[in-house]
Symmetry: C2
Subunit: 229 residues, 2 copies
């Protein structure tokens, strides 16, 4: 079956490593789905604004090829790709439920998404609680993991640097990355420095942080390396 | 984007008008997704059995073309297709959460589905409650409808006929069809006979039923017409 995009997502996240692992109204990204003109999509959108939440069906446009087994960001062993929401699927389709903020013509503003800028959108469906909210469902192997997020703090010195827009963005990215777990992982560029001190690399930035305990880390320094790519 | 089926659904429902309108563990259909051999899907399925519910991403293979506005089975006015789960979408992709019963090699037994026999399957994803169950979501324009289902009874005379497999199947189909609403609707072949008596046509069968009240109907007779197509 050939899927034709009905439009594209426009948001601030272009790098797939920056996307939150699961959409989350609190930490998720806001953005706009702009549907294409000339296809009567204005009519197709009628009544959609009566829903608080919608499903977005989209393409993982930055995933190349598929793998039968993948290492999930919060697991320590590989899992079958069908047992994960990983983008590396035989058909690279993603589904995410997001909050619907506003519809203006062909523009749909959504919040709490994990979509990257430029993501092709294939379908929009209403979220229907009595069909979609399965209260008795378990979370499979994820139930075995600790769902508590790690709190990420910064030292007082660093808070002064947050006036710099780029530094604020990098710190925010680091928070997102360390929240799942502050320990080294193949999907994160983390180096053990000494004791409970680690270094996280994001682009040309290096962040030193200290693991207070499994649920609390503090970022103590941020430096920029020579390479300015 | 080109979607290649990873397998097909095998179930007892072949006629799209027989499919339940929404998947429902109580009234839904059971069946088996048989994944294709030779693609390492055995590995891709590893750990999926730890989940109680899964998402099935599939093609509405019996829907031809799309319509910007559709008449939902339980509404009285047309709605934008993106505000419905209708199959007549620009990209005819369906998503349904179903209960996972069993995985045996490449065969996945599921319950509570609305899939038709022969449905192409494009993806399987775990249902993750903390991402997918949106407790605070509303049901949009559906909230304005009465969600109570109509109880469908049959007379004692008719219960004797249920030994006949074909008749039992037609009665079950009628129950499914009338449960939403027993009143005439463009998607149901219902004729007003007289007073509170109506006739429902399913294939070459004619069922006479009486509307006791909006929440209760009783099927009183079933006959077969001459045409045996």
């Amino acid at each position: 079956m050939l899927l034709i995009p009905i439009g594209y997502f426009h948001g601030s996240t272009t790098d797939k490593h920056r996307a939150p692992r699961q959409p989350n109204p609190e930490h998720g990204i806001d953005g706009i789905i702009k549907l294409d003109k000339g296809y009567d999509f204005e009519q197709a959108l009628i009544d959609l604004e009566t829903f608080s939440h919608i499903w977005v069906i989209y393409g993982f446009h930055k995933a190349n090829g598929w793998k039968p087994m993948v290492l999930p960001p919060r697991g320590e062993k590989k899992r079958g790709v069908f047992a994960t929401r990983s983008p590396y699927r035989p058909n690279s389709i993603g589904i995410s439920v997001v909050k619907l903020s506003n519809i203006n013509g062909l523009n749909i503003t959504i919040t709490g998404t994990d979509l990257l800028d430029g993501t092709p959108i294939f379908d929009i469906k209403p979220y229907i609680p009595y069909a979609d909210a399965q209260y008795e469902a378990n979370a499979g192997w994820l139930d075995g993991l600790n769902h508590e997020e790690t709190e990420v703090l910064v030292t007082e010195d660093l808070t002064h640097m947050l006036d710099d827009e780029e530094i604020a963005r990098i710190i925010k990215h680091a928070e997102q990355s360390l929240r799942d777990s502050p320990l080294p992982h193949p999907y994160r560029r983390i180096k053990h420095i000494e004791g409970n001190v680690y270094e996280l690399s994001i682009k040309e930035w290096r962040l030193l942080y200290r693991i207070i305990n499994e649920r609390k880390v503090i970022i103590e320094a941020i430096t920029q390396t020579g390479s300015m790519k």
